[in-house]
């Protein structure tokens, strides 16, 4: 199967290219980037030196292919969806342009109207653990926000069973979430070793969380994000206040039932050893979402802890997983890397 990537010079685009080059069932036809058009891909993605002779081409040189990944800056796919859709029968979009079912949410969270709301219904929210059957049946899937992915996966089993009164959620995130365009804030002497409360309230990924956790009406979730000394990785710490107290055994049962057969979700709650709860650093480059939990003996609080690599399960890895489901490949194809330790 021939695939191309529109917008492959970003971190997520580069990660996607790395995965696709190693995927048994696909061949990468073209990768586009405007500013680096004509250059070898390894000029931007040094880890791919020798892996391919591909060069970036401008968007306008894109030829038809079997499946087109969209890694364009926010707002661009929205604008050009009709011409882009003529290039391939199947599209997987990594941007936020088609994530929200409700067009009215875009002005609120992304500050502009959605130019093609009719397309919103065609795109399936492309996290297989949430919508596997719908992805199998669709030709259009959208990736999710990385913070939203780890939050939704971590909390879905509890919200689905209507157990949660409210959740107070914090994610600790790495610098690669901000993309590869530099600013004073991302300048190494300022960013190194910082613990930066960049979104104490009101992060735009909340819109997806509200959408995907609304099993029993609007979920009451309070969200915060703090950037720490990390390049890849997100750690979710979600304080869930349950309607009734549970024991840890109950949580094991709930999460096994929800995710026991999932290829990319691991339950991590060890009583001994150094890695007792999910740890993002050992997931770097892998497609895993590790989930753990602890019951607060003194209250109705349960702390859900989850970790992903924001560029993998939070972006490129999930896109490949969605492709595998959509095209009938083995869901694990191209996603076998288990992460490194020590790292």
């Amino acid at each position: 199967m021939k695939v191309s990537i529109a917008g492959a010079s970003g971190y997520a685009g580069g990660e996607l290219l790395r995965l696709l080059l190693g995927h048994p069932d696909v061949e990468v036809q073209q990768v586009t980037a405007e500013s680096s058009a004509g250059r070898f891909v390894h000029s931007v993605h040094p880890n791919l030196r020798g892996a391919t002779g591909l060069k970036f081409v401008p968007m306008d040189d894109l030829e038809p292919c079997d499946l087109l990944f969209l890694g364009l800056p926010h707002g661009m796919a929205m604008e050009r969806i009709d011409d882009v859709a003529r290039l391939a029968p199947r599209l997987i979009d990594l941007s936020a342009d088609f994530r929200l079912r409700d067009a009215a949410a875009y002005p609120r969270w992304y500050e502009h109207e959605h130019p093609h709301p009719e397309w919103l219904a065609k795109f399936v929210y492309g996290i297989p653990e949430l919508h596997r059957e719908e992805i199998r049946a669709t030709s259009y899937a959208t990736g999710a926000g990385c913070n939203a992915t780890v939050t939704i996966l971590g909390l879905k089993p509890l919200f689905e069973r209507g157990l949660v009164e409210r959740a107070v959620i914090e994610v600790k995130v790495g610098s690669s979430e901000g993309g590869n365009s530099p600013s004073l804030a991302s300048h190494h002497p300022e960013r190194s070793g910082s613990v930066r409360s960049f979104a104490p309230t009101g992060h735009r990924h909340q819109a997806e969380m509200q959408q995907e956790l609304a099993f029993h009406g609007q979920p009451e979730i309070h969200f915060s994000a703090t950037a720490i000394e990390l390049v890849r990785g997100i750690l979710l710490t979600a304080h869930c206040f349950l309607k009734e107290r549970v024991q840890e055994r109950d949580l094991w049962g709930i999460y096994r039932e929800a995710y026991g057969n999932e290829p990319f979700i691991r339950l991590v709650r060890d009583r001994r050893g150094v890695y007792r709860y999910p740890e993002p650093k050992i997931l770097a480059g892998s497609n895993f979402c590790d989930i753990g939990f602890e019951v607060d003996p003194d209250s109705n609080r349960v702390v859900i802890i989850a970790a992903i690599d924001n560029l993998m399960k939070g972006a490129a890895g999930n896109a490949v997983q969605a492709m595998n489901v959509m095209c009938g490949f083995d869901e694990r194809a191209g996603l076998g890397f288990t992460g490194l330790h020590p790292i």
Binding site: G174, S175, G178, S181, S183, A185, R196, F198, A199, A225
Partner: protein, 57 residues
């Protein structure tokens, strides 16, 4: 006595030069918001339009 006015954002006392003119932009010492002097007599300030810096992740 240096001219003073209250920051509309955080309530801090903002000191202004004696020769402050209308339209001048001053920064609040406590919350760093930019204030535009909209009138000198009586002395009044308003929040200056905030340009959105690229800041967080």
């Amino acid at each position: 006595m240096a001219k003073q006015v209250e920051c509309p954002e955080c309530g801090a006392t903002v000191e202004l030069d004696d020769d402050v003119i209308s339209g001048e932009i001053v920064e609040c010492p406590d919350c760093a918001v930019e204030l535009e002097v909209t009138s000198v007599d009586p002395l009044e300030v308003e929040l200056a339009p905030e340009e959105d810096e690229d800041w967080g992740e």
